[in-house]
């Protein structure tokens, strides 16, 4: 399962290196969202600085939707589902590989977006440990739930509209949790943030387990 996961993740990341869709399209989109928030909210009244955690995670969430759509678009060529089923790859491995590849891309995106909010919103960064752990857990949650719901929507004509409808309500706890944890870190009271990290860990575990068992049946339908 781990071997298959690494093979799939390696393939997806190699494909990203060759096509640079995440780099050339998703990252600029995320930065664009940051700028749009500045247009919508008054940049002089320090609203942006105060609301940085929430705005940051909204930008991450929207970018994650694009990254997930992309992750399944590359598997949507004719005959790809057949090829995957014939490949002998473990479905659980395929799921974990896709989660891993999306996570790696999101972590890179989050780091660059972090630089973006510091520069654009003049936010001050504090509580590094909590920020880093929150990012990792939240990213794993988004990638795991996103990949599971991504395959539910995959291969359908309505997939672009269906995925946000399915995924965003489910990710509400992750948005709340990551935002509160970031607020706690930036306000210098990290102890308030850790329970949220705990809640998101439960969420991530739930979806990793669901994906490991659910991916096989979803791949099976012809």
């Amino acid at each position: 399962m781990i071997h298959d996961a690494l093979l799939i993740a390696g393939k997806d990341l190699r494909l990203e290196l060759r096509s640079r869709v995440a780099l050339n399209q998703v990252l600029p989109f995320a930065l664009l969202v940051l700028v749009l928030f500045a247009f919508a909210l008054d940049p002089d009244k320090s609203v942006l600085t105060e609301a940085t955690p929430g705005l940051y995670w909204i930008a991450v969430l929207f970018s994650a939707l694009l990254a997930l759509q992309r992750s399944f678009a590359i598997e949507s060529t004719d005959g790809n589902r057949d090829a995957l089923r014939l490949s002998g790859l473990d479905p659980a491995g395929i799921f974990l590989g896709k989660v891993l590849a999306v996570s790696v891309q999101l972590v890179v995106l989050e780091a660059l977006l972090g630089v973006g909010v510091v520069v654009l919103y003049t936010s001050r960064i504090d509580g590094w440990v909590l920020l880093a752990v929150t990012s990792v857990i939240a990213t794993a949650s988004i990638a795991a739930a996103g990949t599971l719901y991504g395959v539910v929507a995959a291969g359908l004509r309505v997939r672009e509209t269906l995925l946000p409808l399915l995924l965003l309500p489910v990710l509400a706890p992750v948005l709340i949790g990551s935002t509160r944890a970031f607020e706690a870190a930036l306000n210098g009271s990290p102890s308030e943030g850790w329970p949220w990290v705990g809640l998101m860990s439960i969420f991530a575990s739930l979806y990793v387990v669901a994906g490991i068992f659910g991916f096989g049946p979803l791949l099976e339908e012809s």
């Binding site: 409808l165 706890p173 509160r180 329970p195 809640l199 669901a210 659910g214 049946p217 339908e221």
Partner: protein
């Protein structure tokens, strides 16, 4: 074609039966009793006044919406585990009715909130998580009703149905923390949690019975309708195979 249709639906030409008719009549009497107790016989609340009456519908609806969600998750699990299409239909029917009940909960909650809080909507933990529940249910129904193969729809919807209750629990938990970190849940104190007794408690009890009967009646009919739809799809199979084989004889 008509003969096969008849054969498939033989013994069950409608979604009604004697049992469901009795159930339906009981549900009507239950609702009449609820109206009588809720609107006429029970006294206005000391602090909430007349507004309290809406809770006799609101609270039982919420309970049965949750029961519908549990049935959806259990049905989806049984379908994925055992391949039981009976349970799949239970999950689907429950999800649809849970959606209706959740919508009733939200609407009655907002109508109740307006005189109580002065606004239709507050970011109260229950209200927020109920609205998220409605969106989760709509997501399930969107997948279950996809214009795609039956197998595709049911399997994909079952995965979402399986995760429905875990999702609701996590969403509720997160929303509760989210609201209580910033303000004490004072709104809840004079809401449903307040102590009720006597005729008011009995009215609420009548509400549970009446809404429960309506829920059961709707669920049985919705299930049978979905089952008939499936039968209709299956009815053509033998004929289709014969037709297909005949193609070979001609050529």
């Amino acid at each position: 074609m008509t003969t096969q249709l008849d054969a498939a639906t033989e013994g069950l030409d409608s979604t009604g039966s004697r049992a469901t008719r009795v159930l339906g009549v009981l549900a009507i009497f239950g609702l009449a009793a609820l109206a009588l107790f809720g609107l006429v016989l029970s006294p206005p609340d000391a602090s909430q006044g007349e507004v309290v009456r809406i809770l006799y519908v609101h609270v039982p609806s919420a309970t049965f919406a949750y029961i519908g969600c549990f049935l959806t998750t259990i049905g989806s699990a049984m379908f994925l585990w055992r391949g039981s299409s009976w349970w799949e239909l239970v999950a689907y029917a429950s999800a649809e009715i849970a959606t209706v009940f959740t919508a009733i909960v939200l609407v009655t909650g907002m109508i109740w909130g307006r005189p109580t809080w002065g606004v239709y909507w507050v970011w109260d933990a229950r209200l927020t998580s109920t609205s998220m529940l409605l969106l989760l249910l709509l997501g399930y129904l969107a997948v279950r009703r996809l214009p795609a193969d039956h197998d595709v729809r049911t399997k994909r919807a079952a995965i979402i149905g399986l995760l429905l209750v875990p999702n609701v629990i996590i969403v509720r938990q997160s929303v509760q923390w989210w609201r209580t970190l910033h303000q004490k849940p004072t709104l809840l104190a004079n809401g449903v949690g307040a102590k009720i007794e006597g005729l008011m408690l009995f009215s609420l009890f009548v509400g549970f019975i009446a809404i429960g009967l309506v829920f059961a009646w709707l669920l049985i009919h919705r299930f049978r309708l979905a089952w008939l739809e499936d039968q209709l799809d299956d009815a053509g199979l033998d004929a289709a195979i014969a037709e297909r084989r005949a193609e070979g004889d001609v050529s």
